[in-house]
Symmetry: C2
Subunit: 305 residues, 2 copies
Amino acid sequence: MADVSLWVVGSIGIDDIATQQEQRSDVLGGSVTYACAAASFFAKTGAVGVVGSDFPNGFIERYRRFGFDLAGLQHRPGSTFRWAGVYESDMINRRTLKTELGVFADFTPELPQSYRNAPYVLLGNIGPVLQNHVLDQAHGKPFVALDTMDLWIRIARSDLDRVIRRVNLLTLNDAEARLLTGRHNLRDCAQDILEMGVQFVVIKKGEHGAMLVSNEGMAIIPAFPVEHVVDPTGAGDCFAGAFMGFLAETQAARIDSALIRRALRYGSVVASFGVESFSTERLEMITRADIDERMNALQLMCQWE
Amino acid sequence: MADVSLWVVGSIGIDDIATQQEQRSDVLGGSVTYACAAASFFAKTGAVGVVGSDFPNGFIERYRRFGFDLAGLQHRPGSTFRWAGVYESDMINRRTLKTELGVFADFTPELPQSYRNAPYVLLGNIGPVLQNHVLDQAHGKPFVALDTMDLWIRIARSDLDRVIRRVNLLTLNDAEARLLTGRHNLRDCAQDILEMGVQFVVIKKGEHGAMLVSNEGMAIIPAFPVEHVVDPTGAGDCFAGAFMGFLAETQAARIDSALIRRALRYGSVVASFGVESFSTERLEMITRADIDERMNALQLMCQWE
């Protein structure tokens, strides 16, 4: 099998999700699931994660249909990580009802030989100690993107700071950017994060898009206005997976702000499909052509003249 | 004196404003003040409003320096409308501490002869009965934009519906669009509002920009990311004033979605200056060249390739 050009580490979960309209139990979730599904439209992507003995074969089958490389997937006796949550009517704020770590509690990510030279890495949202550990196993100088969340900013700040210094791009949402820096204005937040040692900062604003800040300046990344949001879970993971997949697809010799912008727009578009269903169901129904069609529609909406 | 090409009706007030950083008393405010100041960079604009005997000559002097036509300004014995409010740290949510109507309580807007044939009209945020009354005095078929607020949606819905049917463009913020339509998704809100009989719907999202919806489709209007927001009061009025001023400047024979988009981007840019100070102080320091320079910077941030 060909080596992967991108690998993603993170959580794999079985979720119970309720919105104000609908609820679903035992759906395939986790940051690896969403990010690899999104990336797989663009590049051969390896999944680094852990599942328990209760993980349905049907879910593995869905991974295979997306084309995930599964050499980095660990199978362990015990229960898969489970999460349950309920969204408020704004489809943004949510309350966690249940978190059962299961086999994820003892997860130590190990990088298969075939992933070690991959030129692109996405450190999905797991504890920064694990992110550091798995990054230690990569060879060469991959382009590394890091996702994180409020929990790690609060309880594992020094480990998080260490991994931040090792990555090229940090993606986080507006509230997390404020928590990380103690600043309110997002331009100020981004500037402070650049000074922590990353090259590119991507602040996600959900339905309002994202902003990219680097030493080359700032870019505004639009969100595609979704008509019917069914489930926002995993939107940030789809966004990150798609933009890293796009970067891996280009195999560009030089990664500059203009290229990251293009990649982030793909992130926006793939995330807009992702939220149109529970789990990865909508992503299972689309092709790269659908993504490009929506990209063209987004471009028309943003056209300057 | 040359006839005005745009007139604006609305409130004129003396405000006490507190943010988490600073507080200021007795500042020049009101929707007419902000909107006419913003419009005056582009077109000869008439102000239709009322002030009391306490209204400082210095404020009139500031109006004159912007170039407002003041034939529509009524001077009445009594107190000018006064408003006091305090902003939360997000610079979005605010609490009203005081509203003293003064001479505004009996305000009946009258249109000077020299305004009656103006091709552009901005009905700023005042009661819809007054908006209908003043619009009755206009001749011909001006292009009319309407601004409103949650209060009128709640307490004067049938009058508001009547004025909505008479205008070409409705501008309102996301919360107001939801209140007006009972829908949550902003695309749905916009669609419902189009069906109420307006040609263009502009939903404002503050620092996240705005969206334009018409039968020609949807457009995403970016906000210029402001480094230091000092006071957000009047941002929506500046936005509306500037885009109507721009339309008036173009004197276009046909107003289509592409032209409205360009106009709304000017609205965004002028509003971004407006929030950099209390009152119209920042607008008093800039020229049309500063606006165009920031427009170029915004274009670079949004560049597709």
